[in-house]
């Protein structure tokens, strides 16, 4: 270390020229958790293993919760029951992602979106609806970037039953349904 010197550029010093006193220690400590799913999400995950998407509903306001809650957030009361929603719906919003979870550049970009799921006999506006965030497959980069994908019908592409573990990833992606 040479110690701090007057910046070469009075408007700012490029970081490679700066002399930051950074201390590095071996990483101490690991944070590991085992989240309790609870009644609502526990049953939801069990449903996914069976290839079904389950939600809960509140009779007071008519909302359907997917992912489910055992209470209605809006009415503050216990929900009235369970409903199986369809494994298809429409894309509400979607983006192309070019980086991975660790920010490494992906070889092939992926589409991520939010899907409003169909519930037989019920309709929902775009403010509050039963839905999932998931990968979207079968769409081109241009379909997503041009936003033509918005409103498109998609259907869950499930993993084979023997590979399912009771996880949101039991659905591989939501695949665009070609008319």
């Amino acid at each position: 270390m040479t110690g701090a010197t007057k910046p070469l550029n009075p408007r700012g010093t490029k970081y490679e020229r700066a002399d930051f006193p950074v201390f590095e220690f071996p990483v101490v400590g690991k944070a590991r958790y085992n989240y309790t799913t609870g009644e609502a999400l526990g049953r939801f995950l069990a449903g996914l293993k069976d290839g079904r998407i389950l939600g809960t509903y509140c009779n007071k306001c008519g909302r359907v919760f997917v992912p489910p809650r055992m209470y209605c957030s809006y009415c503050f009361r216990e929900v009235d029951g369970w409903v199986e929603v369809r494994d298809e719906g429409v894309v509400v919003t979607a983006v192309m992602s070019y980086i991975s979870a660790t920010r490494a550049r992906l070889e092939k970009p992926v589409a991520v979106g939010v899907i409003k799921l169909d519930v037989p006999g019920r309709t929902f506006d775009d403010h509050f609806f039963p839905g999932l965030m998931h990968y979207i497959c079968g769409a081109t980069e241009d379909d997503v970037k041009s936003m033509r994908i918005f409103g498109a019908r998609v259907k869950a592409k499930w993993k084979p039953p023997e590979q399912r573990t009771g996880s949101i990833t039991d659905i591989e992606c939501f695949e665009v349904v070609r008319p």
Binding site: F25, V28, G29, A31, R32, Y33, R69, Y71, Y74, F76
Partner: protein, 380 residues
């Protein structure tokens, strides 16, 4: 403007609540608190919500976002304080005192059973440069260092710790939510964890949620005929570097107590306070906190406790609930656990062996490696 506690609800207090998520525990505790507050509707009757939690306990970053909806606070004014639940009571106290809020809900929840690497997570709270690289094997060693310093300076013996443990388990056996109470547990027979602390000196962890409804004097009686008034609430943090804090005496607890007593106009706590619920997550801490709260002179709590002064039915009962040694430590819920028990005793919901239940003091510490305490004075 007085501030009253008009509703209390709790859920859990089990070593592991396996059937319900933290959200569901919050919801259930909230339902009970609102029922206790005369069937209050959180969607229309509450002005603001405050949640006391800490991201590393949750295993969720920005866990504030998870606070509102389980307690009826979705799309309403909610904020989170990274601290003990009793600090949230302090927030509510200030908000109501300001005159801007009439009804404030306080919430805290904990699921230690969800944390696989609890010791490691607790070490995240130590200084990353001066302490953490030491890689101490056991976080309780930090408490043991305080215990030794205190015991040496004030001539406290292991027999005094035996008495604290015995009292906690005996009192706790009458507290239905004190899952760890085991009357007859003999401290000297348990193994040493970090000298002088034995297994029986260290409270275990517990899953729990507590919700408390506070209201201004103006509206309190419309929710509850028997409000318990918060006469003072104060908190204090000594210093962030353990090396620089007082190892022998919890100055933060003293400072918090003096602040709360001043607000409550209590001049002689040992005479004016009827009973106390204090932090005893380590046995010696009960003695320290009794002294810090001026319920006994420094260095005298051990002898007085052994003589029965702080036992149920004694001169000034401390931890009629058994405290954390009997109930367990539900992370930041701890202060609300102490508070909710005191409120139930004051209202007469719990028939406890106490002569004077019109004024109580409640204390919580955030545990090692913190130097933070909160104290509230309650009156009926």
């Amino acid at each position: 403007m007085k501030v009253g506690i008009v509703g209390v609800g709790w859920f859990g207090f089990q070593p592991e609540v396996v059937d319900y998520s933290f959200r569901e525990m919050m919801f259930k505790a909230a339902q009970r608190a609102y029922q206790d507050a005369g069937g209050l509707d959180p969607r229309s009757d509450v002005d603001a919500f405050v949640s006391c939690q800490e991201d590393f306990w949750e295993g969720i970053a920005i866990s504030d976002e998870f606070a509102p909806d389980p307690v009826g606070g979705a799309m309403k004014s909610v904020y989170t304080v990274t601290g003990d639940g009793l600090q949230c009571v302090g927030q509510a106290y200030m908000m109501i005192k300001s005159g801007l809020f009439d009804v404030v809900v306080v919430e805290s929840h904990a699921k230690p059973s969800d944390i696989v690497t609890l010791n490691d997570v607790m070490f995240f709270a130590t200084d990353p440069i001066s302490v953490r690289p030491l890689s101490l094997e056991n976080i309780h060693a930090l408490a043991a260092l305080e215990a030794r310093a205190y015991m040496d300076k004030f001539n406290v013996s292991e027999e005094h710790l035996d008495a604290v443990v015995e009292k906690a388990h005996k009192a706790g056996s009458k507290n239905p939510r004190a899952v760890y109470a085991s009357p007859g547990r003999s401290r000297p027979d348990t193994p040493v964890v970090a000298d002088p602390l034995r297994e029986a000196d260290i409270a275990k962890f517990v899953d729990a949620a507590v919700v408390v409804v506070l209201a201004s004097e103006r509206v309190a009686k419309s929710f509850n005929d028997t409000p318990v008034w918060v006469a003072g609430a104060w908190w204090s943090t000594e210093i962030s570097s353990l090396e620089l804090h007082d190892w022998a005496f919890p100055l933060h607890a003293r400072e918090a107590a003096d602040g709360a007593y001043t607000q409550a106009k209590i001049a002689d706590p040992a005479k004016e306070i009827g009973f106390a619920e204090v932090d005893n997550r380590y046995s010696f801490k009960e003695l320290q906190h009794i002294e810090a709260l001026r319920l006994a002179p420094r260095g005298m709590a051990g002898e007085l406790l052994a003589d029965g002064a702080f036992c149920p039915g004694g001169r000034l009962p401390v931890n009629l609930s058994g405290g954390a040694l009997a109930e367990g430590v539900p992370f930041e819920v701890h202060g609300l656990a102490r508070l909710s028990y005191a409120v139930a005793v004051m209202r007469g919901d719990i028939k406890a062996q106490v002569d004077r239940r019109e004024a109580a003091v409640v204390h919580s510490w955030r545990g090692v490696p913190t130097t933070t305490s909160t104290v509230a004075v309650l009156r009926i």
